[in-house]
């Protein structure tokens, strides 16, 4: 069996102030995978990725990239690795083209190799026209794409994306998803993604690990995780104002607004029963949609179950009309 793209064993990180960010985590990401690393703020996601990228010094444990132990040959391991960090980390006063070419130079690429590669990546990511402009003049979405182009210059086999679409509008986000899918499927690049947009993880990733309070609380396939989902919450819009909250055996119903109800449906329950009961009580349903995406509900239940209630406010609500 091929070596995992990333293998982590017993990774521990204790910061100087005594805070234990990672409590001996184990994690494998297989080659070619599109992998999501999820968790609330402060859970340990960025620390984990920071250790992998050598931006954070580990306290204990072992990290291997494509079978290369980073303690033994970090330089070789780094050739396999591309990183798109959470925050902009380029010199804002440099030209776009200079930023990507410099990164290629740091990996020892000649300008003859680097220039066509830069042109291809900047064109693919819609930045070629901006190549001679200062990076600070780019929009937030363009800056994120610039960091993706920079990370791909040396053709890494493992790409780490730490919240790559944070603050990016929906249209641009979807085009970035397409691009990430393409490099994963067509070029076989293994991708590890952290995101607060759980819809993103559900849409892109095949496997997922959820980290909370420095521990991996789940590590499974996205499909498997969703299959475990026991409840879904729906929002029901009615044609007229509701005076009495309808009562339907076995279902949890709350009134949110005069013409809106929330309905919790457990696995095995049938929506037909709800419609039938509402109809009998003279309530006409105009529309119905998920309150949030399915993975988000699972995530919230897991994190709350482990005593962590605070979910980042940026979690995106997905509303699907049915």
């Amino acid at each position: 069996m091929a070596e995992p793209a990333l293998s982590i064993r017993g990774l521990t990180k204790v910061y100087g102030n005594g805070f234990q960010a990672l409590k001996g985590i184990d994690l494998d990401v297989q080659q070619g995978d599109f992998f999501a690393l999820l968790g609330p703020n402060g859970a340990g996601k960025s620390t984990t990725l920071g250790v992998v990228c050598s931006l954070v010094q580990k306290t204990a444990g072992k990290v291997s990239i494509f079978g290369i132990d980073v303690d033994k040959d970090f330089a070789k391991a780094k050739y396999q690795l591309g990183v798109v960090p959470q925050e902009f980390n380029f010199n804002q006063f440099e030209k776009v083209l200079d930023i990507v070419l410099a990164q290629a130079g740091y990996y020892g690429m000649t300008s003859r190799e680097a220039l066509p590669r830069a042109k291809q990546l900047l064109t693919d990511l819609g930045l070629w026209e901006k190549r001679n402009g200062s990076a600070r003049m780019l929009s937030g979405g363009m800056k994120r794409r610039l960091m993706i182009a920079r990370a791909l210059m040396h053709r890494p086999k493992l790409l780490i994306l730490d919240e790559p679409t944070a603050g990016v509008d929906i249209e641009l986000r979807r085009s970035m998803w397409e691009y990430m899918r393409r490099i994963n499927q067509d070029e076989g690049t293994t991708i590890i993604l952290t995101t607060h947009y759980l819809e993103e993880a559900e849409s892109l990733c095949r496997n997922v690990a959820i980290i909370n309070n420095g521990d991996i609380v789940r590590n499974t396939s996205v499909r498997g995780l969703l299959a475990e989902l026991n409840t879904e919450t729906f929002l029901i819009d009615t044609s007229e104002a509701i005076t009495d909250i309808p009562k339907i055996d076995g279902f949890e119903i709350k009134q949110l607004e005069s013409t809106q109800l929330s309905l919790v449906v457990h696995r095995g329950q049938r929506l037909n029963d709800v419609f039938k009961a509402l109809s009998e009580q003279g309530i006409q349903v105009v529309s119905m949609r998920n309150r949030a995406n399915r993975l988000e509900e699972m995530f919230v239940s897991m994190v709350e179950g482990s005593g962590q209630g605070a979910i980042d406010q940026r979690v995106e609500k997905k509303e699907e009309r049915v």
Binding site: Y79, F88, N91, F93, G105, Y106, Y107, G108, M109
Partner: protein, 257 residues
């Protein structure tokens, strides 16, 4: 990384540093030439003509090597200190840290960048000085050697300062409160033979005095102190400070959590 890749990485970093200070030339290259032109006019011409000879040379000829060296020292130091700290501040240092570049290449790249600016400014000041005096060089090779070594030494100093700095104020403290006084008291404007014995002894503890004197010896052929000792001291400082800077970088001091 193989040798070719290492050289490409080093050249990339050096070129990036040169682009940085040339991009902001009104802040980096222009001010020292204006300031030094003022020194030449006021101290060299106006006041110097009343001072008379110093160590057997006109005052203008005496101060030119010291002022060139002063420019090299301050620009080498401040280039690396501000550039590396800006990289830390903007987190663009992470571009280098995630790459396979060895730490010594990162260190060497910043030092060479600082030397490029320090020596570039030194050359500009030298050209400016030609408007005021006829420069002669008694020992050209020694002159070049000592200015290159001094530039390297203060570039390393700037690097260590930037590694330890947590805010922009921290990179101006050393130049303002240590470097400038040591330079002014390092025999740039006077010969230490003019001082009483006690203050001559105190002056001998100032490392910049050695650099200024050896540099002046290269131009004029006179020095207050033995040239061999001075060169040995500069070499020793470079080796020790380079080792300290590299060890700090390996440990991730100031850049890795």
């Amino acid at each position: 990384m193989n040798a070719t890749q290492t050289l490409i990485a080093l050249w990339t970093l050096v070129l990036k540093e040169i682009k940085r200070f040339t991009r902001i030339w009104p802040q980096t290259l222009l001010p020292p030439s204006i300031t030094m032109a003022m020194y030449f006019i006021i101290f060299g011409n106006l006041i110097g003509s009343r001072i008379g000879d110093m160590d057997g040379f006109s005052y203008m000829d005496f101060i030119v090597p010291g002022l060139i060296m002063m420019s090299v020292i301050t620009n080498s130091y401040s280039n690396v200190a501000s550039s590396f700290f800006s990289n830390k501040f903007q987190r663009s240092i992470e571009e280098m840290m995630v790459s396979p570049m060895p730490n010594w290449v990162i260190l060497a790249g910043f030092i060479l960048g600082g030397m490029a600016r320090g020596l570039g400014v030194g050359l500009i000041v030298t050209i400016v000085s030609l408007f005021f005096t006829r420069l002669t060089m008694e020992h050209p090779l020694l002159t070049v050697l000592v200015v290159v070594l001094t530039s390297a030494l203060f570039s390393i100093g700037g690097f260590i300062n930037a590694l330890l700095a947590n805010k922009f104020d921290d990179i101006s403290i050393v130049p303002t409160f240590i470097l400038t006084p040591l330079t002014y008291l390092g025999g740039v404007f006077y010969s230490i033979s003019m001082l009483p014995d006690f203050w001559q002894g105190v002056s001998m503890l100032n490392p910049i005095l050695y650099m200024v004197n050896v540099f002046r010896y290269g131009f004029l052929g006179v020095s207050d102190i033995p040239v061999g000792w001075a060169l040995a001291a500069i070499f020793a400082f470079i080796i020790v400070l380079f080792g300290i800077a590299l060890a700090m970088l390996e440990r991730g001091k100031g850049i890795r959590s």
